[in-house]
């Protein structure tokens, strides 16, 4: 157990700088948020006052519209299957080497590395009333050119361009994860299936997908947490207009426009707890001693 000359103190010394910054800027905010959620914060003086669960009670008031924001975050979850199906589909298309495959992979990844704030400016232009998307849809006769939809100002429409933007921004990331997963599918199993006369779709269904199960699970969890945390997409595309407010954007607006820091912390705490539960679930399954690491899942 003991290593030659390595004392526990050395270990502490090595992690100390990380832990110091980690404690101040990651752990403290988490704790402070939880504490603040139960208080009123007075911005002028910096004073706080205990108010019981008043912040949480306020969250349930209909006129506060936290419910619709939460609902928008739940609608955002359609991103999860969209990203899995398209990410896996794209990975399957690009998995087998062909001339230019590397270039195509890189091109499909470009949206991931571009600043979201800058990419969103182009998307906002594309979805303008007289924008490219409406022109495209009118070309195919899907909408009428005389009466084009105003994407961002229609209550039941505004969220969908935002979701499509998030899909566009993240597709490449999931493609890469699925490509990495496809590398680990045993070649022998494919060859055996071919010998057994299985066609492409049977091989996909009975060889590839079962072997990819841990990757699919990981990607699903990552995408779920990502979708629940979405706030920058609507912030950039619509400046956070009412129809596209997600739960975290609601927190943001309450803090920086409403200056209700305690109330914002309460709303943020709810999102944090949901993400924490998902992260715990992920940890149990995929962590070092998780069930999938031990090969229990087949």
């Amino acid at each position: 157990m003991a290593l030659p000359g390595v004392r526990p103190a050395t270990g502490w010394l090595f992690v100390a700088p990380f832990c110091a910054v980690f404690a101040v800027f990651i752990l403290w905010p988490l704790g402070y948020n939880a504490w603040l959620a139960l208080h009123d914060y007075f911005l002028q003086t910096g004073h706080t006052q205990w108010n019981g669960f008043a912040n949480f009670v306020m969250l349930t008031w209909p006129e506060r519209e936290f419910g619709p924001a939460l609902k928008n975050s739940l609608i955002f979850l359609v991103l999860v299957p969209m990203l899995q199906i398209a990410g896996l589909g794209l990975a399957l298309l690009l998995h087998r080497p062909f001339p230019g495959a590397g270039l195509i992979r890189a091109l499909c990844y470009v949206p991931v590395i571009i600043a979201m704030s800058i990419a969103a400016v182009v998307w906002r232009q594309a979805f303008a009333a007289d924008g490219l998307v409406n022109s495209f849809l009118a070309t195919f006769g899907i909408i009428s050119a005389q009466n084009p939809p105003l994407w961002f100002s229609r209550e039941n429409l505004a969220l969908y361009p935002v979701i499509l933007f998030a899909f566009w921004k993240n597709l490449g990331f999931y493609m890469v994860l699925y490509l990495a997963g496809l590398q680990s599918v045993p070649r022998e199993q494919h060859e055996a299936a071919i010998l057994d006369g299985a066609n492409r779709f049977e091989r996909l269904r009975h060889v590839t997908l079962p072997a990819l199960q841990p990757v699919i699970l990981l990607c699903t969890l990552l995408a779920t947490i990502y979708a629940l945390k979405a706030m920058q997409e609507p912030l950039y595309l619509t400046r956070g207009s009412a129809h596209t407010t997600t739960a975290l954007l609601y927190v943001w607006n309450a803090a920086f426009y409403g200056h209700q820091f305690g109330y914002a912390a309460a709303a943020g705490l709810i999102v944090t707890v949901i993400c924490l539960m998902l992260a715990l679930f992920q940890f149990r399954l995929l962590g070092e001693h998780g069930r999938l690491r031990q090969g229990n899942a087949t």
């Binding site: 990380f18 403290w28 905010p29 182009v122 022109s135 597709l171 920086f256």
Partner: protein, 283 residues
């Protein structure tokens, strides 16, 4: 025999649909950039909104691109982005490398608890930490400083996690041999372990650099002076503010700001796309 099989109509159809699929995905990924570039290079703005003509420059010219450099302090934003991203990356590496090494190779009480804590916080919304961190920075007098922009981002849970994964793979015997020779643990880390973990450190550096380069929310909260903000903040504010009326100028600014990122990506893409590195990080 196999040649006959490849001519089978069903196979041809599948091959055809495969190519169509690849083309469709690529077009979807790239259309905003192609559109932005084509508008930026067009002197004639009549077709800018018309599908499909908008994707080809009309009366090509460089006027809009030249104007961008006159109207937006791009070089200042660029310098700020470079500084912030570089120092964030250095900070992340300096903290994450020893931490990951200790988590992987040194037995000390609290190691497992610390690792669990790091993994859990990886998944939490950092956006909710902005408010408390903003208050902390006010107390520390870090408002409108680059220190305040950089330091809160350098304790990267993902970084510690990635470096630990890399150091876990190292053969114990190599490290023990150096220890027996009398090297201190600090020397073992930087002279023997770190060079072996360089690919992962490169991947972490690249990821961190891009994240810091693209970050909008935190720099926007902490920085007030226009001559300190990075590209992602400065451009966004200029483009949604005073320049939002000229789409051509806006697209030109976007084109100019995206080009350095594309060049950087072309040089470092293996860190993003290599399946061995990605697999080790996430799976």
């Amino acid at each position: 025999m196999s040649q006959h099989r490849s001519l089978h109509p069903a196979t041809l159809l599948l091959l055809g649909s495969r190519h169509v699929g690849i083309v469709l995905f690529t077009v979807f990924a790239l259309f905003p950039f192609v559109w932005a570039a084509s508008v930026a290079f067009s002197a004639d703005t009549t077709y800018m909104w018309v599908f499909p003509q908008a994707f080809i420059p009309h009366r090509p010219s460089l006027d809009w691109l030249v104007r961008v450099f006159h109207e937006i302090p791009l070089m200042i934003y660029l310098r700020n982005s470079l500084l912030i991203a570089t120092f964030t990356t250095l900070g992340v590496l300096l903290l994450a490398v020893p931490c990951g090494y200790a988590l992987a190779q040194i037995d000390f009480p609290g190691r497992r608890a610390l690792f669990a804590l790091i993994i859990l916080t990886m998944m939490l919304p950092t956006e909710t930490m902005i408010i408390p961190n903003f208050l902390t920075c006010i107390h520390l007098g870090l408002l409108d400083t680059w220190t305040g922009t950089i330091v809160p981002n350098i304790a990267s849970a993902l970084g510690a996690f990635m470096m630990r994964q890399a150091f876990c793979d190292l053969p114990r015997e190599t490290l023990d041999a150096a220890r027996v020779d009398g090297a201190s643990e600090w020397q073992v880390l930087w002279r023997i372990a770190f060079p072996l973990a360089l690919p992962m450190a490169g991947a972490l550096a690249t990821l961190t650099f891009v994240a810091a380069w693209n970050d909008y929310l935190w720099p926007q909260v902490i920085l007030n002076s226009q001559d300190k903000v990075p590209l992602a903040v400065g451009i966004f504010h200029d483009l949604t503010g005073e320049f939002s009326t000229s789409t051509s100028l806006l697209m030109a600014a976007i084109t100019v700001s995206v080009i350095p990122v594309l060049i950087g990506f072309a040089l470092t893409q293996r860190y993003f796309l290599s399946s061995s590195l990605v697999g080790r990080q996430a799976i």
